[in-house]
Amino acid sequence: MGYEFDFSSVLTDQYIDWLISGVRITLLLTAGAWIIAFVIAVVLAVLRATNFRPAVWLVAVFVEVHQNIPLLVQVLFWYFAMPELLPEAWRDWLVRNNSEFILAMIAIAMCTAAYMSEALRSGLRAVPVTQYEAGRSFGFNYLQTMSYIVVPQALRLSVPPMVNHSLLLFKNTSIAMAIGVHELTYQTRQIDSDTFRTFEVFLVATGLYLVLSFIIMFVGNLIERRFSMGTR
């Protein structure tokens, strides 16, 4: 009657290889999307801080759109619809270069950038205006004051939400399986349909996701402590 666990048929050399390659793609996707998301988020937050009407409006639309449409829809959109808008040569290049990975990375990055830009924006707003004034009173110009005094503090204040968004980003990479990216969830499904040991293989995958999540949280914690402005 009881369920007989059988990890040995899931953890063969071949399947372990699949899992490792799944973890590799998941991490690559996470890292690539994180870098793109962070750069875009900084640009969005700075644009928003300019108080230049059209820029503020554009950023607000970007943020709303990406926060209110399911990520799966965004990924499918980037995969099926976006290439249609591209010139022929670009489309060919994409297809020859692992288009599903690249497009999933962009889609996830865009969505994460929307959330991260909000985190950075609230960080910027949390820096008291007196800090800006103190900087200016020394004779620092606007850009110097922002880069030496305001932005470093804003970044520190946004570390906790940024760690959260990084964690969400990592978990969201599993959505890329919907367009056939061979990341960890995709490989898990493959092993499942090969072996029918559903419970075992998903347990292994769960363990892997958990370990990786803990590593991200641990790194986030280190960063948080390193940049705690001496209040630890």
Partner: protein
């Protein structure tokens, strides 16, 4: 060194915060500015380095028109130290970096030279052991002394204080005033908004009394304290003693 000439400033159409202020701070002088809350003291001192714009009149600092758009405001500010009521130390930097930031980035001083100077300044304000500390680890009195050291790092010929002891617990007021008294003997031009009348009596060359944006008194401390000419100043002093 600092000359106000018929300076007027409004906050909006209703509130005139500075009214025809005309006065001069001579080189090396210590001027204490006092007056009731809301009389425009903070505004006045902030107009000197153009943290606040003025509506008419002129302010000449070290021979240059502080409010002329032809003169670079950042160059002006490098020569004017400013100490805030709330210290405004940079919380993400150590005490040492707080002090060396401006000389390194604005004067191109090497880190080593800037740090050597910073340590001298910290020694002067009695905080040689706090170089590596972060602002969050300092008491109010220590923070304000660091803030003073920080504004001295650029060797400004002028230093301005806006109620430097008002945010402090009473037992810490003395240590900050002591640093300021020491500073007053160095020949730096000093302008200080404060209600510490003992300080005014001991070190000020002139006391200015501001009321509703009007500069009602500009006198030597002993004249001001023994014999204020304006009834408002008399009432203000009576309230302080009480």
């Amino acid at each position: 060194m600092i000359r106000f000439d018929k300076v007027n400033k409004w906050y909006g159409p209703q509130l005139k915060v500075l009214n025809e202020v005309t006065a001069e701070v001579k080189k090396g002088e210590v001027v204490v500015v006092c007056g009731p809350s809301g009389s425009g003291k903070t505004t006045l001192i902030r107009t000197i380095n153009r943290l606040e714009p003025i509506d008419s009149g002129s302010i000449t600092v070290n021979g240059t028109d502080a409010h002329s758009s032809k003169n670079n405001v950042n160059t002006l500010r490098r020569d004017i130290g400013f100490v805030f009521q709330q210290f405004n130390l940079f919380p993400h930097m150590s005490v040492l970096n707080n002090i060396t930031l401006a000389p390194r980035k604005l004067r191109g001083m090497s880190r080593a030279a800037a740090e050597e100077k910073a340590r001298e300044l910290l020694d002067r304000v009695g905080l040689a052991d706090k170089a590596e500390a972060y602002p969050a680890q300092l008491s109010g009195g220590q923070s304000q002394r660091v803030a003073i050291a920080r504004s001295l790092a650029m060797d400004p010929p002028i230093i301005l204080f806006d109620e430097p002891t008002s945010a402090l617990d009473p037992e810490m007021v003395g240590e900050v005033l002591a640093v300021m008294k020491g500073l007053a003997t160095t020949g730096i031009t000093m302008m200080c908004v404060t209600h510490e009348m003992g300080f005014a009596r001991d070190v000020a060359d002139r006391v200015w009394f501001l009321d509703k944006g009007n500069l009602l008194e500009d006198a030597k401390p002993d004249e001001f304290f023994s014999n204020p000419t304006h009834p408002r100043a008399q009432r203000f002093l009576a309230d302080l003693r009480h």
